[in-house]
Structures are given as C-alpha cells and as structure tokens.
C-alpha cells in the first residue's frame, strides 16, 4: 500500500511538472506555423505534387524515417517469429465461431481487402496511406482468423511478400540515388495535383508499404494466434 502511495505521489508529480511545463510554454493552439512546417504547407504541393501534405512529409520529406518505421515493423514481425518459433500450443477450449460469423466474414473479407487497397492507392489525396491500409488489410485477415477455423495464410507467401516489398522499397530509394544523387528522391513526374496519377513516387511507395505492412501485421497476428 505504501508503495502504491509513493508511486502515486511520484507519478503525479511527474504529470504535474509535465502539464505545468507545457501549459505555460506551449499554450494550446497559439503556436504559429514556423520553420519546416511552414515550408511544407507553402511549398509542399509544388515540390512533391501531393495535396495531402502529411503524406508528402511521411513518404518524401521524411521518407527516410518511414523506411526506418517499416524496418521497425519488419523487425517486430521477425522478432516475434524468432521468439515464438517452436512454441507448444496450449490445449485450451476455444469457442466455436457461429454460423453467422463464418458466413459474414467470408463475404466481408474481399470487401475489406478492396477498401484497404483503396486507401493505399489514394494515400496522397485523402487521409490515409500505406500504414492504415496495411492495418485494414490485416484486420480482414484477423476476421478470418477468428471466424474461419481452417483459415491459414501461407507463411511462405507472407514472408515472401514482406521481403519482396521491403526490397522494392530500398530499390526505390536507390533509384533516387542513381537518378537524382539523393536517396529516396522523387524521380518520377509530379503530374497534375489532385489526381490519382500524381505526386511522383508517393503512390508507388504507399503501394509497397501497403503490401508490406499488410503482410507484416498479418504475420504478427498469425504468430500470436498460433502460439
């Protein structure tokens, strides 16, 4: 009990400092855009051609981060596989999926996949992009894991997709290095803003990311389910 009280006091003191600091120094909503943010908002569309500024930040301006981010996810999937490999399956009573669930998911699954695809294709125009799309796709698979007893995606295929997409991402970056002497440079034509075929390499990268995140998240879920 005493431990809890001490923990409570310390933690809330921590919260208090944090709150008082940010409330004083960064009053809510009163910070003008400055520095790089102002540049992105002003020049973003001319430079990269994407109307969704966040997208162009994620894939181009800070594309190197995103590569790292993809790596982190890849790492998690790999590490999970490494740790959970060869784990004994526990004998447990698992509830049977009902007929309604089984049937619905069977029809819903393609739709979810399609929706995911839509999201990553339109990443540079609307909110969304490769990461949400990948998660949506993984959700579709997750539904199938729960509802269909026999459903099991091919691990071979998942792993191949993952690796292949990752390799492609790096190759896209190297393409920039080869053509524009800068890694991940936007080497494709920018096109007319606000159309699907615009914004240079952004859609390509988002498609790659969509595949990669989708297969990775599915892989993670599959591993967690199997264990």
């Amino acid at each position: 009990m005493i431990r809890k009280i001490i923990a409570f006091l310390v933690v809330f003191y921590f919260g208090y400092i944090l709150y008082s600091f940010i409330a004083v120094n960064f009053p809510f909503g009163e910070r003008p855009l400055k520095g790089v943010a102002a540049h992105y908002v002003d020049k973003g569309i001319e430079e990269e051609g994407a109307t969704n500024i966040v997208t162009s930040i994620v894939t181009l301006y800070r594309g190197f981060d995103t590569l790292g981010e993809v790596t982190v996810l890849f790492l998690a999937a790999t590490g999970l596989g490494l740790l959970l490999a060869g784990m004994k399956e526990e004998e447990k009573e698992k509830p049977e999926p009902t007929l309604i669930m089984e049937t619905t998911t069977r029809y819903l699954f393609p739709l979810v996949l399609l929706f995911g695809t839509y999201i990553f294709i339109h990443g540079h125009l609307t909110p969304g992009g490769g990461f949400p799309a990948g998660v949506v796709i993984a959700t579709g698979y997750f539904m199938m894991f729960i509802a269909q007893k026999q459903f099991k995606p091919s691990e071979y295929l998942l792993s191949a997709t993952e690796s292949f997409a990752g390799t492609l991402y790096v190759i896209m970056g190297l393409l920039g290095l080869a053509l524009a002497f800068s890694f991940l440079a936007n080497v494709m034509p920018l096109g007319v803003p606000n159309t699907v075929f615009s914004a240079g390499i952004i859609p390509v990268i988002y498609i790659i990311i969509g595949f990669k995140v989708g297969s990775e998240m599915t892989g993670i879920l599959a591993h967690l389910k199997e264990a």
């Binding site: 809330f12 709150y19 909503g29 990461f131």
Partner: protein, 117 residues
C-alpha cells in the same frame, strides 16, 4: 472550454495513469498495457501540440489553393511513425510475455526472480 486543459490535461492524465498502472500492476500484460497507455497519451499530446487555432487538416482538396489556416502537419507525420513504433514494441513485448508464460507458468511479475545473483 479551455482547449489546453482538455487536450493537454487528458493526454497527460493518460500518460500518468499508464505509468501508474505499469508501476503498480502485477500482471505482465497489465504492465505492457500501462506502457501502451503512456504511449497513447504521448501521441495525443504530440498531436495536440500541432493544433493551430481555427486550423484545418493539411489536405488541400482544391488546387491551386488559397493559403488557409492549417494545423501543423509535422507532428502528425511524426505521430504516425511513433504509433507504428509503439505497435512494434508492443508486439515484441507480448511475444516475450507469451514466452514467459510458457517458461515460468505465470504472468505474475513478482514470480520473475531468476536474475538476482
């Protein structure tokens, strides 16, 4: 209502609760969730930092646009990264917890006492 109190306050509250749960919890999953809660609070906080009074989302559906008041896009991009990283961390943590459950047969943190000498 004062937006600062609402957004800052709630996200800091989430962070504090997360840490508190992680420090006092006994179950490993609970500790992981506490950390996750901390991350969620942090992400919320970062997003709320980016808000500009009266600003809209940084998506220009009409082009060429007239410069409008938009919120800061950078924290949003950063939070996207942070979320993914949080997911990865959580996945790794869960895998370790599952292994611990297998090897120790318990998820009670007080029982993890192999490393003392």
């Amino acid at each position: 209502m004062n937006g600062g109190l609402l957004f800052y306050g709630s996200s800091v509250f989430l962070m504090v609760m997360g840490i508190f749960i992680a420090i006092t919890g006994k179950h490993l999953i609970k500790i992981l969730l506490g950390i996750d809660l901390f991350d969620v609070g942090l992400n919320l906080l970062i997003i709320s930092f980016g808000y500009v009074n009266g600003g809209t989302a940084p998506i220009f559906s009409k082009y060429p646009h007239i410069f409008k008041n938009v919120v800061d896009p950078v924290p949003q991009a950063l939070v996207l990264t942070a979320i993914v990283i949080g997911v990865a961390e959580m996945a790794m943590g869960l895998a370790i917890v599952m292994k611990i459950k297998e090897k120790f047969g318990t998820c009670n943190i007080a029982k993890l006492k192999e490393l003392k000498w």
